[in-house]
């Protein structure tokens, strides 16, 4: 029973990681852009949410309505002013540019919000829980998981079936050929990054509701997102979701074995998957 509980808690934790990973699945998995600032952007959005919560009436829903558009705008600007200048077949320029951005963002956040940990005020859902048989599950983690499932299904459908999705997959497969077929690669990339960071906006709110955030937390979230995408397989949105589940369960089970082992166990499972199936669980051929 102890292990079943660990698996359930792991799946719920995986829901949070899936929200971190979806934007990464789009940018890294599909577009092959390495965004080192991924975690920092999420923390930035969390901190903005925490500050806004103090002045904005209307609770968490209002916060979502305010933060997601801000996130979309940040994503669009990130692509237009930073990433579109460095995209190309070589992933190194985007890596270097966003590495610099990551450090700049961390310093900026430290300046504005100081090193304190912060979280969103508990409006009740953060502590609400219900019981299934002998196991307690928190309401908020269930909401996070359900949101992650909905976002994954939505994003996957958008990529598969819409004009935007086809254009993005085409531009990712061959940017020049996409332009020759009438796709404006820069515009489509800007839209994709806006979506990726928009999802981070939601993730940022949930992260600050579930636990605390502080300016230095970004790199850890970046690693979880990277690991989820790679475990799942580049280019697969459901793969990233699955990768996040694997990571969450590995951490929760590891935690049961030894309280100090949780995060390390996640990384070990990541390495094990990398060693046995380097293309990932649900890799799509490209």
């Amino acid at each position: 029973m102890q292990w079943l509980d660990a698996v359930i808690q792991g799946v719920l934790l995986g829901g949070m990681y899936a929200q971190y990973a979806l934007g990464m699945a789009l940018m890294f998995g599909v577009m092959r852009i390495v965004n080192i600032a991924h975690g920092d952007v999420m923390i930035l959005l969390s901190l903005i949410a925490v500050s806004l919560a103090g002045v904005l009436p209307g609770g968490n829903l209002m916060l979502v309505i305010a933060i997601v558009p801000i996130a979309v705008l940040i994503g669009w600007a990130l692509q237009k002013f930073v990433l579109n200048r460095v995209v190309g077949v070589d992933p190194l320029p985007s890596l270097i540019a966003t590495f610099g951005l990551s450090i700049a963002l961390q310093n900026l956040m430290l300046e504005v919000w100081s090193a304190d940990t912060r979280s969103l005020p508990n409006s009740g859902i953060a502590s609400a829980s219900f019981q299934i048989g002998p196991i307690y599950v928190g309401l908020l983690p269930v909401i996070v998981l359900c949101t992650a499932i909905a976002l994954t299904a939505g994003l996957d459908a958008v990529l598969r079936f819409t004009r935007f999705g086809r254009g993005l997959r085409a531009a990712s497969a061959d940017t020049d050929a996409a332009a020759m077929t009438g796709v404006n690669p820069r515009r489509i990339y800007a839209t994709a990054t806006a979506i990726a960071v928009g999802i981070l906006g939601l993730a940022g709110i949930f992260a600050a509701l579930r636990a605390t955030v502080s300016p230095a937390d970004g790199p850890a979230q970046l690693i979880y997102a990277f690991e989820a995408v790679i475990i799942g397989g580049m280019g697969s949105i459901w793969g990233a979701f699955l990768g996040a589940m694997v990571l969450g369960v590995a951490q929760a089970v590891g935690l049961r074995i030894d309280p100090g082992l949780g995060i390390l166990f996640g990384h070990l499972v990541f390495l094990a998957v990398l060693a046995t199936r380097p293309v990932g669980i649900m890799a799509r051929k490209r």
Partner: protein, 243 residues
């Protein structure tokens, strides 16, 4: 004859400091099929890329339907009616045959229902593609992939089609099959620039011909009037080459 649909005027270009084209004058009339021949490295692909916004050129070096278009972004030229079947096909790997086609349909200025070309018509032209429409393009043979590349370009509903060595690496039978559709394409009102290394093929399929050598036009004229000797001299250089 009325004004050409596409023309270049002293077009120079290349890659960074490396100049590959030295003043190309070429024109293409509406509905016409011309060919551009030349040895490896003559500059044929560079010329097509320069027209198509993929390499920097001065604005008035390229005119399309009376307007200077040099340096216009590629995706905008597609909307104005220029399309390309690129060297090496450049299909979208990981996507199905039909998805490759739909990217063109999604972005064409003219909707599929009102355009000259639609999927049904192309499946009639290349019946094998109808059976393979749900297959990823990497599961197709080279000839079939070339058919997808041509279909994708046509679904942009072009008035000018630039074809870069569509016969390369294909079996003679497949080449015949692909060349057999060129008359259909031009009959639909699309003018074609055919880059080709096979001179006989180029002569048979086109009304006029330009020969390129080291970035310069060394010969031009009606395809059927040009003698083998003149073409050989222009193609390989030497004392008989005349600009």
């Amino acid at each position: 004859m009325s004004e050409p649909i596409l023309s270049t005027h002293g077009l120079v270009g290349g890659y960074g400091d490396f100049q590959a084209l030295y003043g190309i004058d070429l024109h293409l009339n509406a509905g016409e099929v011309i060919s551009l021949i030349g040895a490896n490295g003559a500059g044929k692909s560079t010329f097509l890329k320069s027209i198509f916004g993929m390499l920097p050129v001065a604005r008035d070096m390229v005119r399309y339907r009376g307007t200077p278009i040099g340096g216009t972004p590629t995706h905008e030229l597609v909307k104005r009616g220029i399309a390309m079947v690129p060297e090496g096909r450049r299909l979208f790997l990981g996507m199905t045959v039909e998805e490759n086609m739909r990217v063109a349909i999604d972005n064409a200025a003219i909707p599929e229902s009102r355009g000259q070309w639609n999927r049904e018509r192309l499946f009639d032209l290349f019946p094998i593609l109808r059976d393979k429409r749900r297959q990823p393009v990497e599961a197709l043979s080279g000839g079939q992939q070339q058919m997808v590349a041509i279909s994708r370009a046509l679904l942009c509903q072009p008035q000018v089609l630039l074809c870069d060595e569509i016969s390369l690496g294909l079996a003679p039978k497949v080449i015949r099959e692909i060349y057999a559709v060129l008359p259909d394409i031009s009959a639909a009102g699309t003018a074609i620039v055919l880059v080709e290394q096979d001179v006989t093929l180029a002569q048979e399929a086109t009304s006029r011909l330009y020969c390129l050598l080291e970035g310069r036009v060394t010969l031009t004229g009606n395809s059927r009037d040009l003698s083998r000797e003149a073409i050989a001299a222009a193609y390989f250089g030497g004392s008989h080459a005349v600009a």
